[in-house]
Symmetry: C2
Amino acid sequence: MKFHAEAIDLGTRAPTVILNAADAEELGVNPVDRIQIHWNGETHIGIVEVTDEIVAEGTLGVTRRLGYIDGDVEVTHAPKPGSVHYIRKKLDGIELEADEFETIVRDIDDNRLSDIELTAYVTGTYSEGLSFEETKYLTEAMTDVGDVIEWNDDVIADKHSIGGVAGNRVTPIVVPIVAAAGVTIPKTSSRAVTSPAGTADTMEVFCDVAFDADEIKSIVGRTNGCLVWGGAVNISPVDDKIIRAENPLSLDPPGQVIASVLSKKQSAGSTHVVIDVPYGEGAKVESLASARELATDFKQVGDHLGMAIECTITRGEQPIGHGIGPILEARDVLDVLNGGGPTSLRLKSLRLADILLECCDVDADAREILDSGRALDKFREIVAAQNGDPDVTVEDLVPGEETLDVRADRDGVVTHLDNRLISDIARRAGAPTDNGAGIELDVAIGEPVSADDRLFTVHAEQASKLADAESLVDKSEPIRVRDRGEALVERL
Amino acid sequence: MKFHAEAIDLGTRAPTVILNAADAEELGVNPVDRIQIHWNGETHIGIVEVTDEIVAEGTLGVTRRLGYIDGDVEVTHAPKPGSVHYIRKKLDGIELEADEFETIVRDIDDNRLSDIELTAYVTGTYSEGLSFEETKYLTEAMTDVGDVIEWNDDVIADKHSIGGVAGNRVTPIVVPIVAAAGVTIPKTSSRAVTSPAGTADTMEVFCDVAFDADEIKSIVGRTNGCLVWGGAVNISPVDDKIIRAENPLSLDPPGQVIASVLSKKQSAGSTHVVIDVPYGEGAKVESLASARELATDFKQVGDHLGMAIECTITRGEQPIGHGIGPILEARDVLDVLNGGGPTSLRLKSLRLADILLECCDVDADAREILDSGRALDKFREIVAAQNGDPDVTVEDLVPGEETLDVRADRDGVVTHLDNRLISDIARRAGAPTDNGAGIELDVAIGEPVSADDRLFTVHAEQASKLADAESLVDKSEPIRVRDRGEALVERL
């Protein structure tokens, strides 16, 4: 059937084309069906959406991804892409083979799948699970897509946390310790998606974080380490597309998590990696048993790929550090590097650094490196190499000046800190976009408090956002204080 | 955060709003997140999509479903709808309760779910299955949404086929037989979605099919029966929305099929229903065991709802009747009503009519009603009541004049007719939109043929569509002819 193609200024992930309802009926296609567009001697695939008004009969609306198509085209039916059959197979509970994962990953990378098909893939891997073999195939397929960074060193150290714990900004402390011990550690991190800050957001308080692969190599060549944003490097780009379908339902299939993390590490050229699996109420992994299982699978898939993986299983039922939000976390980091700071953040960072050094077979003591000031010096070197001010002090890092103090309404003991609620409040206050916004915690689980003691302070840069955060504080109980007598046995 | 709302001429099922990427970041929302739009003293929910260009910063693009919102609005975060939690629960393998299905069905009906969430629901019910209790709850929830038609009779007969077999146009034969026996049978049918014709498409060859509930009552009051399109009546409207997410992956969770069919029958006021479950290679249900299981569940859920259900399990590995496509099927129907026609269509229609009459406890003989001409008279009455020409003859029904004869390339036996390929060829030829397009079959499985005997004829109304159909015929083997010697044991 012949059409006249016209550009529609609409950005979609999939190569969407828009047909008038009458034309769609005439052509015999339904929404989400695929068509072949023959134009200029080439054939392109479009995914159909149907409209009554936005395009007239005879017109094929091409959205931005196909926007170069213009003028007269011939349209015919197109077969479904191969991955649709494999997704269906997965939903039928049948294990997929290596080449089938390759096809799916390639189709996701090329945005050839509609939201419906992509979601069916994600829920299929969630409901049916991924076997050890499947996780391996998926990891390899995800590694094969996108760029790979190559290094000359035999040992490239790396770390990762599977997340879900507020604060927990150990990376900007671990990296300078390890780099100061002479180990190459080119760390790429993410920005926040649903949390109040990612490591990249916190580091951006100090310096630039967006560098391409060559720039990263140059920084690491000078300092042994870096603390940059992974999104500026095209390694394992499929991951972000899969996350889009996972987020609305908070789905995190364990096999997918392993494939996402290890494909990124493999593409980044990492050889020795510590993976932190925090567990506990409100964290991504709730039970010790699930954390152990995930850690075991991480090690085994890593083995298969030729990476040395160490996993740490840590308590994740409350935030690590005092600050939550880019600037507040940056202050904690600088405090710890200066020899002070929150104990929880200092101790966790030291332990992770020691395990990573041991995994790399390097005889060095993290505490000695930190307390001697060598980690701070290394951090300043890295900040300078990333175009930041190496002489930055805690006083330079000013949190949002709109504040709300939240206080205990009775004497008692802190029995519960809700990671998710605390993150939500910090986001409402403006984190991570307003980098001074967030929460400063005064207490931890098990601490005694008196009535009217401050539990935490909300910081915001804008009064309206502080009000938005306050409305959530008012209707929830992010920090629970109970009388000593009912601390252990709580009555509902 | 304050915005200026502007209409975007884009039709979406969900209440989509479009934000500039910078505003989305500022507000802290991701694609598919929900926002509350405070406008004019009311609060509306929008699902976020993010663009770089289509709307400027400070503008909230409202698509057609929210198009009435205009001017200054205040935007805040909105919680996820309740059903998202229940969908997640289903994906976690936990059975859902009655009120949870009610919430999901209501949210689907109100278009409150994004494609991602709706697909997660469909794949969840597919992967995890629905228990008998769950199927019951879902059926009740789907019945509660939309209109209900009430009748004064104690017996309201109905029939349904779960489909997947080409041709198979038994309904316009069964309904007049049953109506002629004095039983009320107000039959609503669907149009084709992925097939070359639905019963509504075939009936439209004879008369109008779009009537509202009052008009249906008036037609049935005069004739005892009707043959109308269900889409014009608002019964169980959720079904079409669920089908949208099922089609791209051809998912048909059995519990969902039962709920879809029985909620429609319940809403239509039906009390006695025959459900035909065709099974066989290429049909929707492939094995006899699955067909029996589905039939048993249909009966039990029907029992619970107070309906008398009879199920027939029929062979579905090849088309029923000669014609495929609206006019070609209409010719078969009229031939059978005239006492002739394809044997397969005549015998299946008689058997279904007898079972339905017996189910309604009516002592009548379908063959006698058909052969006496009373069924044909009743059919003409119904056609007249639906504004058609009661004196229509087979000669008036002219199939598409662009034709292609497909012939056997050797002597042998027909071993296989591919329902799906035959449907695809008929659709490429233009069915159901071009109502004269389709396929006329000359052979059935097991029949001996000689080289150059005609196997089938493709009819089209447009030469370009015939060419499109021919290209599929050329590269496939919709009808397999094998030498007698290899008919039983075929060598690959």
